[in-house]
Subunit: 544 residues, 2 copies
């Protein structure tokens, strides 16, 4: 029996688009002689739905679309496709997260997810009722399968014997001999995530003493980037074959031999920085594609952050869809402008220059007079940043173009960003990257030739909002700060060092800025954005 893994990029809420894509992949799977094709979690509805599940009419549309879909499934192939199903009982939450086993003109069986994730970006307990994994065995011909959906396989203890779940539903159910265990997922990317997946898949395969396929969604949805990287393991949990990362992919294997993979074979060692680049490029591309925008723009300061965002944007959308601006005052060094111009030229984009000096002076004189200000201060630094934001948003209004915001995670963590100024924009592209990772990406872009002028990488970072300003006048050295950001924000460790304590304190004080931040493309285990929900009005003092 030949089985296909259809790693698709579904669009949230576009049921007809998803249906057509699913039908195309079914067709391709059939051409590769597959008798069963497996899609990712919720791929007919799209994922992560968030509170779209409040809108009952949308689930009705999906249900109707499913009926259309099964009518068009060709004979001779079984299909596993995910979506949501109404809970028709009076008790319990309104939906189940389900997989439909379909064939030509038929929905043969529905399987329900049992374990509902509620950590980080996940909110399944808001609208989803628990299913029972014990009902998820099924047969096709003489072959027996056991089906799980995403979180269902994540209750295994870690090496310290810990789990956030009291019980592992896989251990509770009666174990039956199966030919294949299936997991259909929408699992977000972060660096190191693949290892975690391999761990739980290996545990599950060994538990059932059966081979297992892990079929993951690909594509980005707001902040969340699904990386694909679906894979097949043998009954010892050893990876046999993998699908591509950050791209749609279709692969077929023979269930008896676990051979005949038609793709690129077992995964090669992939460069971490290249994965980061691919993730962010997909993040930009899908955010635009799925919101219906085709063009983006940003201010190019001559610094490293905007340089890297510009390169990512060009990778995602091509130079014709990226517009760059230089918005200098007299505080901006000539070198900054020259470097921005060289980069723009390298990217084959015109750099439109709008000096904001006279606008700044005009507003400054009003502000100084009205608010009785006699000396240069933070007020004036923020003014410059906000004038830039205002001009960039005017361009958004004029051109229907998405402003990309360029702050990095270390800046966001410390509040080293101006609310309604450089925080303006519809997508925070590198908001989950430490400064170090931004440099790594820059070096990566320069692997073959000097795309980003070398001086952009080597000069000391500066906001250039007053004479001779350097980031390190206000912030710790970035290598020290970056480590604290990883420890405190990503790993949620206790504050140990002096910098840790300083960071915890400033994190709490600057939460009001991040509350109003643009969506942040998530590439770490714990990023700013919807997966990190801190209060503003409180008086906790962790480090007193």
């Amino acid at each position: 029996m030949r089985i296909a893994l259809a790693q698709i990029n579904a669009t949230l809420g576009d049921f007809n688009y998803n249906k057509d894509k699913i039908l195309n992949y079914i067709q391709s799977a059939k051409e590769k002689k597959a008798e069963l094709v497996i899609f990712p979690e919720a791929s007919l509805f799209g994922y992560h739905p968030f509170d779209l599940l409040e809108r009952e009419a949308l689930v009705d549309q999906q249900t109707k679309t499913l009926k259309d879909l099964v009518k068009k499934i060709p004979a001779g192939i079984f299909v596993l496709v995910g979506g949501f199903e109404k809970n028709k009982n009076k008790k319990g939450r309104p939906y189940y997260n389900v997989v439909f086993l379909c064939a030509k003109n038929k929905i043969l069986k529905t399987f329900r997810k049992e374990l509902l994730p509620t950590g980080d970006v996940f909110d399944e307990a808001r609208f989803i009722e628990k299913g029972k994994l014990s009902e998820n065995y099924f047969k096709i011909g003489s072959k027996k399968f056991f089906l799980t959906i995403c979180e269902d396989i994540w209750a295994w203890e870690n090496k310290k014997g810990e789990s956030i779940y009291l019980e592992n539903p896989l251990k509770k159910i009666k174990k039956q001999k199966v030919d294949l265990v299936i997991n259909m997922s929408a699992s977000p990317f972060f660096q190191g995530k693949l290892k975690q997946r391999e761990y739980v898949v290996q545990k599950t395969a060994k538990h059932f003493k059966a081979p297992m396929v892990y079929v993951n969604l690909v594509g980005a949805q707001d902040e969340i980037i699904y990386d694909g990287q679906s894979f097949l393991v043998d009954k010892k949990g050893i990876t046999r074959f993998s699908c591509l990362d950050f791209e749609e992919d279709l692969n077929v294997f023979d269930l008896d031999t676990l051979e005949d993979w038609n793709g690129r074979g077992a995964k090669n060692k992939i460069l971490e920085t290249e994965q980061l680049r691919k993730a962010l490029v997909l993040g930009i591309k899908d955010f635009c594609g799925k919101t219906g925008l085709s063009k983006v723009h940003l201010g190019l300061s001559g610094g490293i952050d905007s340089a890297v965002v510009a390169c990512l944007a060009v990778d995602a959308l091509g130079p014709n869809n990226v517009k760059l601006f230089a918005l200098p005052t007299k505080f901006n060094q000539k070198q900054s402008f020259d470097l921005a111009q060289t980069l723009a030229k390298n990217l084959k984009i015109d750099l439109q220059t709008i000096s904001i000096q006279s606008v700044f002076e005009n507003i400054k004189s009003v502000v100084d007079q009205e608010y009785k200000i006699n000396e240069f201060s933070l007020v004036h630094e923020n003014l410059q940043s906000r004038i830039r934001g205002l001009l960039m948003m005017a361009y958004s209004n004029k051109a229907g173009s998405l402003l990309l915001t360029t702050g990095n995670k270390s800046e966001y963590a410390t509040g080293y960003a101006t609310l309604y100024g450089d925080m303006c924009g519809g997508l925070a592209v590198i908001g989950d990257l430490t400064k170090k990772q931004v440099y790594q990406l820059a070096e990566h872009f320069n692997k073959e030739y000097e795309l980003i002028p070398h001086e952009i990488i080597t000069r000391p970072p500066s906001a250039e909002l007053r004479p001779n300003q350097k980031d390190q006048d206000s912030l710790p050295e970035y290598d020290v700060l970056d480590q604290a950001v990883v420890d405190i924000v990503e790993d949620r460790k206790r504050a140990k060092s002096k910098i840790d304590k300083w960071l915890v304190d400033i994190l709490m004080k600057t939460e009001f800025k991040r509350w109003q931040s643009a969506p942040v493309l998530k590439v770490s285990e714990h990023s700013f954005g919807r997966g990190r929900r801190y209060p503003v009005a409180h008086r906790s003092k962790e480090c007193v």
Copy 2:
């Protein structure tokens, strides 16, 4: 046996402040001859903690503070106080939401919450593990009690037999004869919420055939406003006595007679609009107090929204802590300015006037030239709004004052607000009020005399961003729009009317603005803000 209900306003994360307050209330309860004093849910830690629970050190601090607290409890009184407790097992989520039964020098018993809310603003399944209600019986002397925490009593079926919970934990446990059922809550206010509380409390009291006390938190935390209104019911569930709304309160009753209430007695019928006013005033006051800010400011346009926000701010903080600005262009009618000035005078506040006409013209000329714009458009409307935002934020920087934003729910729903313009600010005071409710509040403020000039209430609403603009050039009539907002956003109904369908469509299209909105004071069952989590990048079309 005399029992006290201590309805306190705890501050999230300020354990010493909360401890001192709790000790003061214990003292007062003792003076009123109470032998048991009951505080609200999590009142030692403060509530809603959101992801502060990531910071283990904070829970440790709370645990340490609890030890200090019990040392200072006087002899002869038992205390029920809420907080969080570490889950010391390797399995399960890291904390329990608990109540400690304490007496002088002793923590006698710990009770754990079983039902964990995950809807709307609640996220308890992120960090909290389930307890077992069956362990929550206890005795003091000859009296027997059963203790529940907030959501524990919310699994009762509604009149249609529906519940979002599969099982009611109260029905599962073995029923014992008790003298009193206790519920300790942190239950947010919205109009109509009290009726829901009375329903579940009545169900619970009848179930146990025992009187019941419901002790609720008071005070605001970011978007959420706890209204207090703690109450006592007899074994039939009939309300005997109530505590004050939106204020701290302490009341004592005799358990044998359910009499001897020292407070104001059974609740009076409270005006809905007056409750709305109290809620929002508390929202502003606590947001400032708990973030450490004492001053606020806003632009007064001569329209109804900013007028009402100014009145609320003065109620919350007094006229000396509220600063008002007029920021006209030539599009603003003279009447608007005059009305703003009259209102400011009535509120006993100077109105600082900053004409933004020349700044607007200066930026407009740059924008028109650089972006090749030949005619007046949305670009220029937004420019004006953003220049105002920029000036108001400069004042924030200068004076350490909180900018209040003045958009209402009907505007937010339709995206009739400028991102980084009039959406600037740290708190959206009336962001959960329909336009109708804004008018009701205005009339309410004018109950005794004409505080808000009558013309502000009667003139047609206008953003005054172009000549002769009226809101109804772009929006449906507010009474129609308001009803659609209630139906679609609050009640999450299916779209029926043409306006409903238009609203669902525009809601989806404008989500990117609300993603970046300031915290919205929640006074309805479903408000914009953290309790409503919609995606931006999707292509759902509910109404095609």
